[in-house]
Structures are given as C-alpha cells and as structure tokens.
C-alpha cells in the first residue's frame, strides 16, 4: 500500500515557543488515523501546520503528500493538491453566503485540475444529496457562512464542504467537540461515507467516543509535541479508561 502522507521530524513553533518537537507519522492510502492527546499537546497545531497556517513557523522537518513537498505550497495549493482541513472553530464570514463559498471552493479546485467550472444547475444537483445526508436545511445555502450557526451546524457544514470537495487527505480537527450524540452520529455518517481506498483521513480528537463511530486503523498519542505511543483502535479505549496522565509521565521521562 502506498504512503499518502509522510511527516518526518516536524518541528514548529509560534513565536519562541516550540509546539511540535519532532513528529514522525506515515499514513498509507486508504487508512484512517486518529491523533489523540491532552490539551496543549500540539494536536491542533499539527492540523494547522498541515493546512499551511502562517502563524506557525516550521523550523525543521518535512511533509510529503503523495510525494510532493507540502511545506513549499501556500494553503490554497495544498487544498488543490487534495488536502482538506475541517476547522475546530469554523470561521464566520458575514456577507458571503454558503452557496457562494461552496461554488468558489469547488471551482477553484476544478480549475486547478483543468476541469470546467460547474454551473449553478449541476452544482445544485451535486450538493442536494450531500445536504440531506448532513441534515442541513435548504435555506442554509443563502445564509452567510457560519454566521449565527450553532456549534453543531458549523461542524456539519465543515463535513458538507469535505463531501463536496472529495479530498485525498482529510484532516478533521476536533470535529466532534461540542456535538450532542445525534449530531455526532450525523457527522460520523458523513465522514464514513467518504472512506475509500484512495482517500486517507487524520482525525484529531480529545475523546474516544468519535472513534466508536469512525473506527480508525491506527491511533497515535501526542504529548509534548511528539508522538509517544501508536497502536490500534484499542489504544483509544485504553486512553479513555486510564486518561492521559500515564502518557504525560512517559513524555516527562523521555
């Protein structure tokens, strides 16, 4: 099985504070990996650095997506190369409606692949079923992006965007946080519908309950900016029972 994402010795800092202290991670094509870890372990930083957030400075290491140097690309080029970041805190954009954002994103990526822009009719056909799957009402398309949305609506909107853009690699940053059980099921159904041998996913999460619904191939535990343990889905249950203290103790010792 070919490697889709390869992260080698990744170091990143914000200001003078180092947050990622040497991450090594490989995700083969078709696999779903989860990154778990206590608050402040660097989980969200990793997701943001993957997407190209300029607030973080990468001081060492490299990231390859399908063999291509991700760090050399601006955020939009990473998205066009097939990377998708589901935001932990989706941004509100008053004055830009959802239909406009979805079309702009889809067409930007289609154009970069040399495909034609999609017209309004085709777009509506494409988005309709996906909205139903995510239980998003029709009037949503005319509303400003994330403005006045509940926490659950924002997260479902992130997954809707992912379903539309069909990324090679989806990085979902705490897409489960702030969701009740029903919303969590909807989100999980959306994510699971996209699982495929040609697509990989990286789920960043604090809680094990998401991983009951989206069962990962591998689980990694991040603490102090490095991956401390890796294992199968059972590792997530172990963390759920024992908490993160023992990982942090190990991190402190190393």
């Amino acid at each position: 099985m070919s490697t889709m994402l390869k992260i080698e010795n990744l170091h990143a800092r914000i200001g003078s504070r180092e947050i990622l202290a040497g991450i090594d991670l490989e995700i083969p094509s078709g696999e779903v990996h989860a990154i778990m870890g206590p608050n402040g372990s660097g989980k969200s930083t990793l997701a943001q650095v993957l997407a190209g957030r300029e607030d973080y400075e990468v001081t060492a290491g490299r990231i390859l997506l399908d063999g291509e140097d991700l760090l050399a690309m601006p955020p939009e080029q990473r998205a066009r190369a097939g990377l998708f970041l589901g935001f932990q805190y989706p941004i509100e954009i008053p004055g830009v409606n959802n239909a406009y954002l979805l079309k702009a994103a889809l067409n930007a990526q289609r154009q970069s692949r040399g495909e034609q822009s999609m017209d309004a009719f085709e777009f509506m056909k494409l988005i309709k079923n996906k909205m139903e799957l995510m239980q998003i009402p029709k009037d949503f398309l005319n509303r400003s992006v994330n403005q006045g949305f509940s926490g659950g609506e924002k997260k479902r909107n992130e997954v809707l965007q992912m379903l539309l853009l069909e990324p090679r690699l989806a990085v979902l940053d705490e897409t489960d946080s702030g969701l009740d059980v029903d919303a969590l099921k909807v989100v999980a159904a959306g994510v699971n519908s996209l699982r495929s041998p040609k697509r990989s996913m990286l789920l960043v999460t604090h809680y094990e309950r998401l991983l009951e619904l989206i069962v990962p191939d591998r689980v990694h535990v991040l603490a102090g900016g490095r991956i401390r343990r890796s294992g199968g889905p059972e590792l997530a249950r172990e963390l759920d029972e024992r908490g993160y203290d023992w990982v942090q103790v190990e991190a402190a010792r190393s």
Partner: protein, 435 residues
C-alpha cells in the same frame, strides 16, 4: 467658453450671473454672502481634511453653455452604458442644464414640476429656513451660478410607484463647472423613491457642485439613493439638505465611489416629533482619489430617531474622510440616535480619517456611536484559502462582502442591482491595484 478662476467667479458682477432677471437678487445676494464668508480652507475644523486649493487654482468654466447636439449624444450614450432605463420617469441634467430631450417624468401623476426661478421667489417669502452660507459656502456658489434646476412638488397623499431618476451627466466638455439645483417638496402622507445618479460620459477636469434640498411633509416617506462615481480627474462637491416634519421618515442610501476630489455634505434636520432618519452609505477611494463624506444630523424636536451606518473601503494611495456629527438640541427628549462607521483599508498605504461628533444638550437621550478601521480578517482569509480559493480572489470576496452588507439595505431591487454592479466592479479594481 470663458474660463476664470474661482476667485474671479466670486467677484463677478451681477450681470455675469446666469438665470433670469427674477433670480438675480437671490444669486447676487448669495455671492455677496460667500464673498464675505470666504471659501472654506483646512483651517476650518469641518474642512480640516479636504483642501479645495486644486479647484481654487484651476481655470474653469463657471457659465457652461447649454449642451449642443454632440454633448447630448455623448450624454445619451453614457445613460445607456450606465443602465439608466429609458422608460423610467427621469430628469436628466447635462453639464448642469436640464435636458428635456433626454428625459421626462412621463405619465407619472402626483408630481408637479416647477422652475427654479419661481422657487427662488416664493421661497424667500414662504420659508425662513434658508441654507446657511456660513455652514455651506459651496451651496451659496451653487445658488449664484446654478445653470438650471427643478422644483418638484409631490402632492399630499401621492404614492409614486416608479422611482424618479435624477441623472446628472458630465458630457465630457472640458473645465465645466456644473451646478444643478434640485428641490423636492414631499406633501403630507406622500411616498416617493428617488435615485440620483451621477454619470460622467468621459473623465474630464470638470467639477460638479450639486445642491439637493428635500423637504418631507408630515407623515411622508422618502427613500433616496445616490450613486456617485467619478474617475481620476473629475471633482465633486455636494450638499444634500433634508428637512423632516412630524412622523415623516427619510431613508438615504449614499454610494460615493470616487473622484479626484470629492466632498459630500449631508445635513438633516429632524424638525418635528416623530421624525425619523435612516442614513447609510458606502465610501470608496483608490489611488489619486480623495472622498470626504461629512454628515450632520440635528435632533431639533423630541421623540426623533436617527440610525446612521457608513462603511468605507480605501485602496492603495486612496484617502477617505468620514465625519458624522449628531446634535441633540435643548429640550429634545426621547431621542434615539445611533451611528457606526466601519472602514477597511486594503493597503498600508491607504488612509481614512473617521470622526464621530456628538453634541447633546438634552437629557432622556439614547445615543451610541462606534467606529472601526481595520484590514481584512486574517482568519477569514485563511479559511477561504484552505478551501482552495487563491489569496487574490479571497481578498476580493471578503472586500465585496464587507460592502455588501450596506447594499442589502437598499429596498428597491432594481436599484440595488444596478448599484451593486457598480460597487462590485469598483471594488474589484480597488482590490487589484492594492495588492
């Protein structure tokens, strides 16, 4: 064509002033007052950021002739290019002269069109509320030199369905100082929508100095939209004076999209209880442009309400000014006055001066104001880029979105669409040159 400087124009003899014999007293009177007051300079607080010196130094044509065939043709083409519908009731001024060939009010009933001379004569007798030359010196210049004007009277209780279009066209003739005068009196309980559109057939070194006076009778309703868009050479000054009677409401949407030197004054008097004002606008300025919007709202009577919201988008090497003055007069209780000014700078070489001024001489008053100046939101930019939208397009989307919230307040769909077209096109240029 006779060109003179502004100083020479101020000293002109009575005989050199345009208009009929009947109007000479009013015109000469205004000119004498202006001569005594002098032209505004940046030493005056309310003219601190806007210097008329380029206009004072220029040689200009203060008495442009009526447009000839070529000028009318150029104006007609400009009307088509700017999407002014031919079948709409419209009055067209070309270089300050009313051009009946290019538009009429058609079959619109409920509006009486009278000439300016009658207005000058009757107004001296009938209304004490003359525009103050001290407060509005350029309005006095307009009084003295107005080529033509209209006095529209909307009958009591009239409901005018189609928007009246008042189109001010610069034909492209050089050095023209166009000074039309528009007076609209809205009868008791009447409702009317006016769209004042300012169109340049070519970007010349002319100057439009327009005065619009609106008087709202009791319980009347007015929606007025203004779209002003000049290029890099044309100068523009204006006064919009609005007088609101009991329980009448005015909604003014002002879209000032550029010009070499632009100064717009808005002066609203909420004269009787229950008078209400919605005032909103968008101010755009790019390289080589200076756009100054000065507004003043007087809460003269108790139980009056004003809600003002302006947004500015300034591109690289552009300069904007917003000054919003609100005065609550002595004894005017039960006042609700809100004001916001939000501004977006597209470059670190863009500048805006924004200043709220509240003067409150009464109690039982609810007043609020807030102003912001900022750049595009970095989080929003990243979000769009993370979806594959390139940075340039993302900036354009967010800049348009900032302005769109003002456009959404335009009630008339066709007017909203035509203003939105111009705003979007102008923003695209501003965003491009500001990168």
């Amino acid at each position: 064509m006779t060109v003179t400087t502004l100083k020479q124009a101020l000293a002109a003899p009575r005989a050199a002033l345009p208009g009929s014999a009947a109007s000479k007293d009013v015109r000469a009177g205004a000119l004498a007052e202006l001569g005594a007051t002098g032209l505004p300079t940046p030493r005056r607080e309310d003219w601190r950021y806007t210097d008329l010196k380029p206009l004072v130094d220029a040689e200009l044509d203060f008495a442009p002739r009526s447009p000839d065939r070529a000028a009318l043709d150029a104006a007609a083409r400009a009307l088509v290019e700017h999407g002014v519908p031919t079948d709409a009731p419209r009055l067209v001024f070309v270089d300050g002269h009313l051009a009946p060939e290019l538009g009429t009010l058609g079959s619109t009933s409920g509006i009486e069109v009278r000439d300016l001379d009658t207005y000058w004569l009757e107004r001296e007798a009938a209304r004490g509320a003359r525009l103050s030359t001290a407060a509005h010196p350029l309005a006095a210049l307009n009084t003295a030199y107005a080529q033509s004007g209209v006095w529209l009277r909307v009958a009591d209780g009239a409901r005018i369905d189609a928007a009246l279009r008042l189109v001010l066209v610069a034909s492209g003739a050089p050095k023209v100082v166009a000074q039309p005068r528009i007076v609209v009196e809205i009868g008791r309980g009447a409702e009317v929508t006016i769209f004042q559109q300012i169109v340049d057939a070519a970007d010349t070194d002319g100057w439009l100095n327009v005065v619009t006076e609106l008087a709202l009778g009791e319980e009347s309703r007015l929606a007025l939209y203004r779209l002003e868009e000049h290029g890099l050479r044309h100068a523009h000054t204006s006064l919009l004076a609005v007088d609101v009677a009991a329980r009448a409401s005015a909604s003014l949407g002002l879209f000032d999209l550029g010009g070499r030197l632009v100064r717009n004054d808005v002066d609203v008097k909420l004269r009787e209880p229950g008078a209400a004002l919605d005032l909103y606008g968008l101010l755009l300025a790019g390289e080589g442009q200076h756009v100054d919007d000065h507004t003043r709202i007087d809460h003269i009577a108790p139980d009056t309400r004003s809600n003002e919201a302006f947004r500015g988008v300034i591109g690289k090497h552009g300069r904007g000014v917003f000054n919003g003055k609100v005065i609550v007069h002595r004894g005017a209780r039960g006042i609700d006055a809100r004001q916001t000014s939000d501004n977006l700078l597209l470059s670190d070489q863009a500048e805006i001066d924004t200043k709220p001024e509240l003067e409150i001489y009464s109690d039982d008053v609810k007043c609020s104001h807030g102003s912001t100046v900022g750049e595009l939101d970095a989080e929003q930019l990243f979000y769009l880029r993370a979806r594959g939208v390139d940075e340039e397009h993302a900036r354009e989307i967010l800049t348009t979105a900032f302005a769109t919230t003002v456009l959404e307040r335009i009630a008339a769909p066709d007017i909203r669409a035509s203003i939105a077209d111009r705003v979007t096109a102008r923003l695209r240029t501003l965003a491009e040159v500001s990168r």
